[in-house]
């Protein structure tokens, strides 16, 4: 029992790093995702094409490969171009960027589906009152779309928490990495990874409760 408890305690030490990366990635993903979603619905063909390729490539290749490219491939390219030494310093930047960009591709599709789910009559009513395109998005479409995409966005956040475990491969000291380090020291691999699993479970379950709560509250708002 002692071993399991210790496993949990050690894994939990990685939780702040995992959560920080997730938080940064979700915010970056939301902002970039919104832009990509708007680009994908644009009337300009080139913009639509770029957005489509962006989403296809990021969703069609493994996160692990994206992380490796960013962590080891990019420094090599920078060195060969500039001739100067480059390293990431702290690989947590790789975590922020890789997860943020990866998540933005999924987020873009979620946001697009939400925006497109709003009845065209809403846009027509707003525009006929004199609101411009931006005001219509800001006051009418986005608030309604947001309500629709909250569950999907919650899922994306939960998926992201689990996916960030990949970052342990490049040595970021997240939940999984802490467990791995302890396992190799103590040879208690089973207890170590059970501990890791428990910490992830606590995070994902808590989060899904939070999402369900927000969903309920927003549904109430509809009725006044």
């Amino acid at each position: 029992m002692q071993g399991y408890l210790q496993g949990i305690m050690i894994a939990a030490k990685g939780a702040p790093v995992t959560l920080l990366i997730c938080l940064v990635a979700v915010i970056a993903g939301l902002v970039i995702g919104l832009l990509v979603a708007i680009a994908k619905m644009s009337k300009i063909k080139v913009l639509r094409g770029i957005a489509t390729v962006y989403v296809d490539v990021l969703r069609g290749t493994p996160l692990l490969v994206q992380v490796l490219l960013l962590a080891y491939g990019i420094p090599q390219v920078i060195v060969s171009i500039t001739g100067e030494q480059f390293n990431w310093g702290n690989f947590i930047w790789v975590g922020f960027i890789a997860c943020g960009i990866n998540s933005s591709a999924y987020m873009a599709e979620i946001i697009r589906s939400g925006l497109q789910a709003i009845d065209k009559g809403q846009t027509e009513a707003a525009r006929s009152l004199g609101l411009n395109r931006f005001q219509t998005m800001r006051y009418i479409i986005v608030p309604q779309a947001f309500k629709i995409i909250v569950p999907a966005m919650g899922n994306e956040f939960i998926t992201l928490i689990k996916e960030t475990s990949i970052l342990s491969v490049v040595g970021i000291r997240d939940i999984t990495r802490m467990g791995t380090l302890w396992a190799s020291q103590s040879f208690m691999s089973f207890q170590a990874y059970i501990g890791v699993a428990c910490v992830y479970l606590v995070l994902t379950l808590t989060l899904s409760r939070v999402v369900a709560y927000i969903e309920r509250r927003m549904a109430n708002g509809d009725r006044g």
Binding site: D119, S128, G224
Partner: protein, 240 residues
């Protein structure tokens, strides 16, 4: 005053409007009737550019509105529109539905906008519903809020696109009543409608649109009691 000159609208290969020329004068109430698919909704939607005309010109008080240089948002402030499907904003209260555009577009202070909103709700008989949400209202109430919302911008013209077609029969009257009072006050109105009794009573002029053109037009008396065109006769014999 709205002037329409040789208006054409096509959706892909489907030509819906085939050359409409018409002038709607200030304080005039014009009802547009015709069979479904005749182009009457497309016609009214071209007046505030919810549909972009394929050819022809639309003028509001002499200003060409389907000009790439025209500020369409500014022009739309001057034309209220009421839709068949109400299109109230479901995430906003009745009061917020009404005050949104005056506050955000005209920059009106909230208190002023709300005072005006209460006044308008009084006019449409819904003073007690200011804090309700659209989902709590009946169809007739929703449409009256939609009318109040459009009026809050002080438009010069009101466009109605089949305002009672989505309503249960017992709610049609309350909406038409509000529109009648609006007409009495001298509002310029263009109304696409299937309510022939209403058109007869309120309209100054009736346009019969069929196959993308104005087949016949005249006073309600002329159109309903003494139609000249064969298609008008056959349409009226089916609906009256």
């Amino acid at each position: 005053m709205i002037e329409v000159k040789n208006l054409h609208k096509a959706f892909g290969k489907l030509e819906v409007l085939k050359g409409i020329t018409e002038t709607i004068n200030d304080k005039e109430v014009v009802c547009v009737i015709g069979p479904s698919g005749s182009g009457k909704s497309t016609f009214i939607r071209c007046l505030n550019l919810l549909e972009e005309p394929t050819a022809g010109e639309v003028f509001l008080d002499g200003e060409k509105i389907n000009d790439p240089k025209a500020d369409i948002d500014k022009i739309r402030e001057r034309m209220g529109m009421v839709f068949q499907s109400f299109n109230l904003f479901p995430h906003k209260s009745v009061m917020d539905n009404i005050t949104l555009a005056p506050i955000k577009v005209k920059g009106m202070a909230r208190e002023e906008a709300e005072a005006k909103g209460r006044e308008l709700l009084e006019v449409v008989g819904l003073a007690d519903k200011a804090d309700s949400f659209p989902a709590q209202l009946s169809g007739g109430q929703k449409q009256r809020v939609a009318i109040a919302r459009a009026l809050a911008m002080d438009p010069e013209v009101m466009l109605f696109d089949e305002p009672t077609s989505a309503l249960d029969p017992e709610m049609v009257g309350e909406v038409l009543q509000v529109m009648k009072e609006l007409a009495k006050k001298g509002m310029t109105m263009v109304i696409v409608t299937h309510e022939m009794g209403f058109a007869k009573e309120v309209a100054d002029r009736v346009l019969f649109i069929d196959q993308g053109i104005i087949m016949e037009q005249g006073s309600p008396k002329d159109i309903f009691e003494n139609p000249q065109n064969e298609r008008t006769k056959s349409f009226l014999s089916k609906v009256l």
